[in-house]
């Protein structure tokens, strides 16, 4: 029993990692209809710049802010240079373009930062214990970052005019345009926001992930799986999906031979896409977009 609890807690902790990535993917999809496969690479950039700045003696807070600013600018550039020029293209092409952008980001990071994994110090030292369960303290920070990110996104989308405009575009592009909302501006805004979310996740994950330029793909895929479980167009669903995925992985690793962990995660993804592509958390909608 104590073991099961430990597996669930570990699963929730790693699930928070996937949730952070999935959140950004769902947000972009909701507004633009594009699945952004560069989201994992935004996280990688945030983590890598934070870790490198810290290694070179920058204090954690300025390092985090610089990582956030730098990654956000990259997100903005990706939208302006890759997505915006192809605006008229079919969504499939835009998705492929984000994969292209991801590869360029990874290649550039390899050239700029080298292939070496970087090490960032945990925000606070030590291990958290409760009820016989032990957890590295950094995972609490990841959870805090996830909760803050979800709350911020929720407040933004429901309480601000800009956020409402963004949801308007998500619901009906044409109607939103008639109301004077520019979908192009919203697209730019949401990519920038997604990059910022990615960077926040990256900073929180840096001490756990030992970031190198290669971690983006794996993170992006797990985040994509989380978003799909959540139904893709709901940020809250993506978070729930991430947590679910993390727990499923941990329990699978706990009770099956541990080599099957990834097989379970991606098996869940394939199964969902085949059986229930609108996500587990939602009733099936008859309308096809």
């Amino acid at each position: 029993m104590g073991q099961l609890l430990q597996f669930v807690v570990t699963g929730l902790a790693t699930g928070a990692t996937y949730a952070l990535v999935g959140l950004g993917i769902a947000l972009v999809f909701q507004v633009t209809g594009v699945i952004n496969f560069a989201q994992g690479h935004f996280v990688m950039l945030g983590a890598l710049t934070f870790a490198i700045l810290e290694e070179n003696g920058t204090a954690p807070v300025p390092a985090a802010l610089m990582a956030l600013a730098g990654t956000t600018v990259i997100g903005l550039l990706v939208e302006r240079l890759v997505i915006a020029p192809a605006r008229g293209a079919h969504v499939d092409r835009l998705i492929i373009l984000t994969i292209g952008a991801a590869i360029v980001i990874e290649g550039a990071a390899l050239v700029a930062f080298g292939t070496q994994p970087r090490i960032a110090a945990p925000f606070t030292e030590g291990v958290v214990r409760f009820g016989g369960v032990r957890l590295e303290g950094q995972y609490l920070w990841v959870s805090v970052a996830t909760i803050l990110a979800v709350a911020a996104v929720w407040v933004f989308l429901t309480q601000t005019t800009l956020g409402k405009a963004m949801r308007g575009v998500a619901m009906d592009r044409e109607a939103a345009r008639l109301m004077g909302i520019s979908p192009r501006r919203m697209s730019l805004l949401v990519f920038t926001l997604a990059a910022a979310l990615g960077a926040i996740g990256g900073v929180a994950l840096a001490p756990i992930q030992h970031p190198d330029p290669g971690i983006g793909i794996a993170l992006g895929l797990k985040g994509f799986t989380a978003a799909v479980i959540g139904g893709l167009d709901s940020p809250a669903g993506a978070v729930a999906g991430g947590l679910l995925l993390g727990v499923a992985e941990a329990i699978a690793a706990g009770y099956l031979p541990s080599g099957y962990k990834d097989a379970v995660a991606y098996g869940v993804l394939v199964l969902l896409l085949l059986v229930r592509p609108t996500g587990v958390l939602k009733t099936v909608r008859a309308v096809r977009v």
Partner: protein, 390 residues
Amino acid sequence: MARRIRRAAAAAFAAALMTTACAAEETQSASDEIPIGVSIELSGPAQVQGEAYQKALQLEVDRINAEGVKVGDRTYRIKLVVRDNKSDPTEALQVVKSMIDNDKVVAIVGGGSSPTTMSTVDAVESRGVPTVSMGSSGAIVSPPDKRRFVFKTPANTDLIVETMIEEFQRQGITKIALLSVDNAYGQAGLGAIEAAAKAGKVQLVASEKFTDKDKDFTVQVTKLVAAQPEAIVVWAIPPGSTIAAKNIKASGFTGKVFFDAGAGAELFIKGAGAESEGMYMVHPAVLAGSKITGDSPAATVQREFFQQYTAKYGNFSGFAPYAADALRLIVAAIEKAGSLDRKAIRDAMEQLTYDGVTGRYEFSPENHGGVTKDSLVLLTVRDGTWEPAQ
């Protein structure tokens, strides 16, 4: 909607299959050069090793070329053809084939790990190119009749396990658990430990695996600790070894922790920090560096290499000596053969007895594998550095 998501999924798998190109190349031509291929992990999960290999080879090639390599009455320079195998077995095979067919290398240093060597052994055998690997798996050099051209520098896996078991017996440890990486390198460790358990030397109460892309092994460690071992053995390279050390410490495990030589880079101590204090590793003595005592030829060679490497690069890596020795062995074999013929080099290598940085090599037709057992010592982390355990 559903269709769009399915298409996106197809794109996702496409993305997963893609990797970015990162080829490090060194090409220059002159008539009196001996081209030697190097297949190492300059990117990917084993990048920490590859970087140390590259630094060590640079140091060695500069030293060797300052004197030149005498073959017959001519003096040659070594030209290294360095290629990144991306820590990927498939890529490693392509790299090796290309070096043999296009660059006409006379010998190969690499691959730098067991997975990137195992995929290439048949290719170098059929083409007849002497190859010295830095991978530790015993399968790299056995069976001897199918590995006539393949040699390796790290100690055989079973020698490392033997050294561990001697220490278990000394400390009265009978029940152990194993945490190993799920690739050719980890499987070699698992195989050797299981063989020792079957022979009744130790009791293996639990065994778990992780992949080289995993970032947290808490679940595996929880299962191991639940089996109540007196010691946990970890078969992993950084950053996996670092994560294992942290997770084991976080689990509250109070027994002993033993690492294989693969854990031995500076990153392990740096990454795991205070959490690695008191943990053990079986490793060639060279990692203890300046604390090596004695005036034997081996001790002198080790101290010199340690000093040169740290003077040039600031800190030392436990992986560096393997690559340095691989190149030294090839040069020694070329000089002994007095020829640049691949077959002649192989034949000479098989007769070599050599004191390298890692330890002593006693190659024979039956033994192409690694340093002798007395080159291995038990190290422990004391105040953040590796020191001899006794």
